[in-house]
Structure formats: C-alpha cells, structure tokens
Amino acid sequence: MPQEVTRRRFMFQTLGVLGGATVSGNLLPLLAEAAKRKQVLRVAIERDFETLRPELSAGDTANLLRRLIYTTPILWGTQQRPDGSLIYDMDRIEMGLATAYKVSEDRQLIEFTLDSNAKFANGDPINAQALKESYAWFLNAKGSGQLRVNGLPSADRIEVVDEVTVRLRLDRPVAWGLIGNALLSSSSIVHAQEIMKHATADDPYGTKWLETKTIESGPFVIETWQKGAMMSLVPNPHAFQPAKLERIILQIIPDASTRRIVLERGDIDFAVQIATKDIPDLRKASGVKVLSYPSARGWWLGMTWNKAPFNNIHFRRAMAWAMPYETLMQVVTHGLAERSRSCVPNNVSGYVGDLWPYETNLEKAREELAQAQVPEGFTVTIPVYAGDLFDEEATVLIKESLAKLGITLTLQKMPIGQKRTLLTKKQVDMAVYDWRPWVPDAGYFIYWNWLPDSFTNYWNYLNPEAQVLGNEAITMAIGSPERQAKLRRFQEIVNGDIGLVPLFTQFDNLVMREHVQGYVYYPDAIPVLAKLSIG
C-alpha cells in the first residue's frame, strides 16, 4: 500500500536526495583522484569542435583535436630550455608517419619514406598511395589554401614511387616548403578512399560525412562525443607510435574562470585559454605548473591605406608616437609579453628589431598630427572583439592616449565573426588585432599579410619595392644571408611607411597540474596532447 505523502515526509525525502547529491559531490573528486593516477588526462577546453574536417582552420580547439586524430608526415624537432621545459627546434625535424625525408638542392623535390607499419584506425594501410590520395583530396576539395601556397597546386605533382615512398614536386621553391607540405594542417592524413565512399552529387568530396565522422590516422581515436559537453579519446589500436595515455577526456568548460578553478582544485589536468590576468596567481597555486613561452602572436594597430587621414604618413607617425607601449605591456598582458619593434612579429626567423624608432612621446605625436592637418575633433570608429580582454583593454588604453591628442575613438563592440568579416572586406579604418604565423618565419608572415593579394592584408598596403623583396623572400632558403638581407630591407621599408604599429608580442601561457609531463611548445601553440603523460 503506498505511503501517504505528508509534508514532513516530503521534506525529509527532498533533504535526503540533496544530501546524497552533496555526498556524491565529495566522493567524486576522490574517484577522480584515483583515476588521475592512471594515464587518464582530463583537459578543459573552451568550446566544442566545429568539425572533424582537417582542412578548415576552424579554431584552436579544432586544431587541438586534429593533432590527436590525424597524423602528419613529420613534426617539429624538440629541444630543452634551461628550466627543463620543452620547446620546438626550428633546425630539427621529428619523424612521424615518415621515417625519412629528402629535399633536393633546388628545394622543389621532397621525398618521404613512410613507416611500413602505419595504419588507419580501421586497419587499412597508410602507404604511399593513401598519402597521395589524402593530399589529392585536400587539393580537389579546394580545402587547402596552404598546399597551393606551399608550391603544390595540383595532385599530379604527387608521385608514388613505391609502397612506402612518395615524392612531391613543387612548382617553385618555397622557403617553408617541407614544413608547409608535411607538418601543417593541410598535411593531416585523411582516409580519402573512405571519405569518397560518402560523396554525393551535391557533395562530391564527402565533406558532409567528414563533419562528424572520420577514420583516424593519428595516435588517438574518438571513443565518445557528447556534442557541446565532452569528447573522450582512446589510443588508436593501429597507431604506429604508441601513446602513454590510456584515455584523454576533453571537457568543454566555456568560462575561463571556471576552467581556472577546476584546474586549481585538481579536477582537470590541463587547461587551455586561461586568462592572462590569472597567470601570476596560478604560478603561486599549489600543484599547478605554468609554462610561459615567447610566441610569434603579434598585436598591432592597423590603419587603412585607402583614405585620409590614415594614409597620411604624418598621421601614421603620430599614431606610432602616441601608442602607450609600456602601459599596454603592463596593463593588458600583465608583463607577459615582449615589446614588438617591426612589421613582422618577434620570435620568427628574419625578424629585425632595430628598425622601429618610436616610443611613447605625445609631443612628437602632436607635431606630426599638426603636419597631417587632421581636423579638430576628429573621430574614428574602431571595432572591438567583445570578450577578448587583450583587444578590449588595448583599445581602451589607446583611446585614452589619443584623447590627449584631440582624437576621439568610438569603440564598437562586436562578436569576432563580425570583426573578422569587416577586416577581410577591408572595411575598417583602424583596429587593434592579432596574427600568429604557424611557421615562425618572416617570409611566411609577409606572404599572408604584406603582399597586395595577401588574404589578411586588411589595410591594402602596397609598396612596389617591398612587394618585390617579399616575393623573393618567399622562395629563398630560410636562414641564407641573402634572404636575411632582403628581409631586413623589407622591414626597413614597411616600418618606414608605418605599415602597421607593432604593439607587443604576447607570451603563450600553458597551465597544467604538476603531474602532467612531456608538454612541448610548438609555434602554432596547439598542444600535442598525445605526447603527454601522467607522472
């Protein structure tokens, strides 16, 4: 016979459920602690993965996943810093899918020898033919601007020599030809045959299928994917390089402060996108390890070359003198940045830091502004990516500084998608923005930013002499003295034109529990989680 529901009984039952829930709240961290001792890595990520398509650069989280589920022929080499932490080595290459490689003297022929044991997650071999098909899929699906940039415009330039040997014949020598064609996202190996089974008349390259499904070639395979919540990955049973971790749990924690406190409490092992303002405190937190790396992610003030007064050299010089460089470094980045002094970011090969004479000097800024004949009460609308602390704070500080010159900045906050669209359509007069080259090379940065048809030449910069030098630097060997001289001259010209006002180059700060071992910092700042282990 059912018991009568009285108010008292209802109260006790409710309290019982709440109490039980609270007890479980206490017990679960203990269970988590036990799990931690196994090789289970719990990672807090900011947002869900947009897609499993490796040809789309859809964001940091997608790139993080790409490194787990897709292999590349090679990877950057590793070196140890004096503090024992690991960082990429530009001068060395680590073998991945490829066990050896050769680059011809004219740098137009690249040959890979593949690991004969390499297999996709379904057991199919990753042989020379599979590699060719993977590259061909990228090119045919028009998925990769990168391969074309890197001298590989079509699949007929890929030659299968034997079961494990592939040759790439580039249409021109490219300074970063090896890295660009064998290490970046466009070299992620996909199971093209399997993808093409899902091709339709509307979708001739099976991209729809690949949005949410794939056959992995990387060290891990997707075990479960709860959209919007988490993804769990386990080692690829056919991986040619065994992983130490037994499982990786990628937990979506959208709020940066929440990511910070769950890391501090030890409920996760590794967190991405921790706010820079939290880094000083986290350094003092027990059980937490913070690794800071000088990066190539530069922050700039850009101004259009399309209209006055922005294209007036005196106005541009006034802006260069008016920037509160030190304040930006201290307030925005909390000292976790380097001062930038060129039109290419710090920490890239070919950067020259002695060609930027500008420091904060409002008197000189006023003199230049007077020569520019800027009308009194001049107002500029400046788009700001709402939610990006660096963008917001830097723009506010610049606004304060320019107000002293009688220039009013009107901040227009907007989502990143809108700001990026305005920039790409070259509809912005002035803005603070950042850019990180995936290859730490000045020529690579120039290719994407400084040539007339560069995709992110948001400001329409054009200088014929600089254009010739930039184009030459793209094809010359990295590190050659002749190329270094051309890059120096390039920076001299563009800095003289005040092509951009370099503000600072930020550090990348990686935060993890102390027991996480094996982290290596790469130029694209994407953690290769497969290399980690629980110590």
């Binding site: 459920v17 709440l18 039980g20 829930a21 609270t22 007890v23 479980s24 709240g25 206490n26 679960l28 961290p29 988590a32 799990a35 289970v40 719990r42 807090a44 947002r47 947009e50 897609t51 650069s57 859809a58 964001g59 028009k142 998925g143 601007g145 991209t207 729809k208 949005e211 949410t212 709860q226 959209k227 919007g228 919540a229 988490m230 749990i249 937990q251 979506i252 924690i253 709020d255 402060s257 929440t258 406190i261 769950v262 409490r265 409920d267 939610g387 907007m414 989502p415 990143i416 998608g417 809108q418 990026r420 669209t421 790409t424 359509k425 850019w435 995936w438 994407w448 048809d453 995709f455």
Partner: protein
Amino acid sequence: MPDSPQGEVMEIISYVARRLATIIPTLLGASMVIFVLTMLIPGDPALMRLGNFATAEQLQSLHEEMGLTKPLYERYMLYLGGLLRGDMGRSWRTGNLVLDDLRARLPMSIELGVCSMLLAIAIGIPVGVWSAASKDSVIDYSGKAYGILGVAMPLFWGGLVLVYVFYFKLGIAPAPTGRIDMLVSPPTHITGSYLLDGLLTGDLEVVMSSAAHLVLPVITLAFVTGASIARMTYTSMRKVLASQFILVSHAYGVSPRAIVYKFALKNALMPVVTLIGLQVGFLIGGVVLVEVVFSLPGIGRYAVESLLVNDFAPVQGFVLLVLVVYLLVNLLVDLLYGVLNPQVHNG
C-alpha cells in the same frame, strides 16, 4: 455560458484548437523576421570556418558550398521549405542538423528549467505570502530584502560565488564541469534528462552525479526567479488581504490561517501564474550565463555560441523553439486562469 459539463469541455477544446491554429501564422511571420534579422547581422560564416590561412579561391568555394552565393529570397524560400518539412537547416559549427542539436540539448534545458522553477515556486510563494501576512514584521522586511536582492543579483555573479564557496573553498559541491562527473558514463538515452534516465535505468551513480551537478545551477536560478515570484505574490496578496471579503471573513471569525491560505492565496495567484508562465520560457532558453558558468550544454549556450561565430541556422532554430515554448506556456496559463477562477471564461 455552457449549460453542461460536456458543453464546457467542448468549449475548452474549441478554444485550445483556435489558439493552436493562430500559432502557425505567428511562426511563419516570425520565421521571416528572424531570417531577415539574422541575415542583416554583418559577418561571413565562411571566413570563420576558414580562419586566417585561406585564399580567395577557397573562400569562394566555401561560399558556394554553404549556399551563401544564392540571393536572399531564394535562401529564405529554401529555409521555409525546410521548416515545413521539419528541417531547421544545418549548423556549420557542429555539422549537425539544427533540429538534432536542439533535440540533444533541450532535455538538459528543460531539466534545469523545471527544477529551478519548482524550487523558485517553493521559495517565492511562501516568502511572498508570509511577508504579506506579517506586515511590518521582521519576516516582512526579510522577504522584501530577498525580493530586491534576488532581482538585482546578476545570474553570472551569483553562480560564480556559489561555485567559489561550495566547490572551490568548501569542496562540498562537484566540479562545475557539466551535467555529470567526467568519469561517470552518461545513462542510456531515453528522455535525454540524465536525472530521469538514471532513475529509469536504475543507475544510481548517474542519478547522484547528475543531481549533484544540478544543485548549484538550480539554486542560482531559483534564487533569482523566486525573488520575482515572491515580489509578485507579496503585491497581489496585499491587495487581496485589503479587500472587502477578507475583512468580512475576519468579522465572521474565520481563523487568520484559513483566511490567508484558503481565501486570499487562491485569489492572489492569478498574476503569479502569469509571471511563472513568462519565467518558464526564460528558464528554458535564456539562462545562457548559468549554462556558461556551470558548463551545461543547454540550448541558450548553443544559440549564443553560434551567434558569435556567424552560424545563423542554430540562432533561427533556437528563436523559433523558444517562441513555440512561450506560445504553449501562454496557452497553458490562460487555461489555468479558468481553473483558478471559474468566473474567467475562456472563449
């Protein structure tokens, strides 16, 4: 007025049918407004997909793939045709049909919304009633203070404070990392609510873990929503308690308890029910900030995250879904009026 119970039932059915019929043109009109408004938002979704390392050729190709090269009217007709077939379009961000994404996230939003609303009612109505019945007492002032504090408190801040105190400092709440502990497997999908599915499958670990993960977000939401309910209950109760029939009841010697709970409360509930109806829609679709703080994958967060990266199909789907919820809850509220006060005639 119907003269038999059967006639009354028929009248209600006819009323409900007429109200439901008005939903269709409302949704059609809304679909056009939402579509045009989202299209007016400046932002190119293809650029977000490609990132910085793209070429003009690649951008053009992706525009074609995403149907962005078609004229606006053609895109709307395709969208409308899809809607009529139950297809809300595809999210480029998740790669899924919007309907599937909403279906996956809605149970979590309903679970959170319903639990929060039940707790808010359990707090708000008693506080409002006690406060109104004890004018100028400590209870009255405390109730008013709660009403002001609850309404003024930002949800985001409230959630963070609870997390900081109960999880970070005291360690008695679970990590705010989603619906369930990372190391607990989700239950077999039956309803989509982890709490219900855990109970239905007899998985106690899931029930305990999901209940534990709901406690803080539910308290955060219920504290704020309960304050609005308490304020409305208080105002309505004060009005009823000052009315003639209550004074007559006092004169007849009816006990104060009976006056408050039997006579006044029932008459004071109508505006409270209206408010609760409005709050249900908010709790299901508009609690993005709480979803963010507690890492809960609800429909509100889905819509906002999509909006930020110019993924418009989920935004359109979300607005239509919330509109349907509002329309249905409004209908339910109107029907409840008739139950609470038979003098109200649904016709």
